[in-house]
Symmetry: C2
Subunit: 197 residues, 2 copies
DNA sequence: AGCGTCGTCTGAGCAATGCTTAGATTGTGT
DNA sequence: ACACAATCTAAGCATTGCTCAGACGACGCT
């Protein structure tokens, strides 16, 4: 009767690696993530992870995919409480900023070059598109007569504004000088201007 | 009489390394950049670069600093042709997108985690702030009665929108599905809405 | 039950990288 | 002329990503 520890076959290595990777990224950022360290955490030899991921970039792509999944569910929950449309957008903005700020290192992972390279996008882009559709749906509720193409344009500019502000002020080059100069309110107001146009 | 090649002292190693690093990043992206490779290009031993940069991150920070400098001069040139204010903003947007798209790998470098970490920001943030001030100045020309704080808010949202769109559509997770769905015109229109509010 | 197959894991190994150190070389200022 | 400081070399250490031959074990088939 094996004690479930130290079996020759780990049994759930893949998810164990993903879990350890997620924790590492949230704590220390992508740059601190190494395949061998993950193997060490999982009590497994350095070559074992390669039976579950082709290379390190594939692991990162999977992490990013999960990140966009989590973002999508947050956006979904924010607007499903069907209050009035304008309040819905407000809650959407709040949910996005809350997600980005609750684990900034993970949020930053979603946009690093290793994840946005073509091979990784095969895995990541579908989930990113799902996020875009979620925004588009919310805008559709607010303006039922608008055509889908313009709704998508509005969703893109909305997402662009939100990501741009987070990228500049929370995790980007202006974090030190201007931290929290732009609060949720400003972002929400600007988002409104874009969404209602 | 030495032939200027293969001197024991290189003479201009620092700038040679920066130049080689810039070329490498523009061609292959940050992930392809290595200190030892730069040393090889400069015909120098692997340890030599460490007399000019504390570590790899410092080299990256210098590159990013130069990137923001280049962006600032582009923004400056765009609006100095003093036409009417609304056209000025349009040219500003065009200049920004042109800069980002002319060397996307270099643009992406400006926002990677290695550059946005606190130590690197000591070097990078001042130049990023200079870019922000440039945008703020352009908006001031367009609306002379606006207060500086609101001008800075507008500059931030403008920059956020531009960077967000570039980050999502040109170098980010939506590049494949939506490349050039949002063209310069859409970005300019949205930027207008924000700037004029 | 016995057997074979296939997916999983090991362990050794290779090339490359970031960074450090001791010492050689050269230019500079007094 | 001489000491000093800056620059460069060469060797080396620890770590990483990735590969490969082979050990191990769960599972299905006869």
């Amino acid at each position: 009767m094996p004690t479930k520890e130290q079996n020759y076959h780990h049994g759930a290595l893949r998810s164990a690696l993903l879990e350890a990777a997620l924790a590492t990224v949230e704590r220390d950022g992508v740059e601190a993530l190494s395949f061998r360290q993950l193997a060490r955490i999982a009590n497994v030899s350095p070559g074992a992870p390669y039976h579950h991921f082709r290379d390190k970039n594939e692991l990162l792509a999977m992490l990013a995919r999960r990140g966009f999944e989590a973002l999508e569910t947050e956006l979904e929950r924010a607007c499903s409480a069907g209050s009035d449309p304008v309040n819905c957008i407000h809650q959407l903005v709040e949910a996005y900023l809350r997600f980005a700020r609750s684990s900034p290192k993970l949020y930053a992972l979603l946009f690093i070059p290793e994840v946005t390279r073509p091979e990784s996008l095969d895995v990541v882009e579908p989930q990113a598109m799902a996020c875009l559709r979620r925004l588009q749906a919310a805008l559709a509720v607010m303006d039922p007569v608008a055509e889908p193409p313009v709704l998508r344009e509005r969703a893109l500019t909305l997402w662009g504004l939100l990501h741009g502000l987070v990228s500049l002020l929370d995790i980007g080059p202006l974090t030190r000088s201007l931290s929290s100069v732009v609060d949720t309110e400003l972002a929400a107001r600007s988002a409104m201007k874009l969404a209602l146009a």
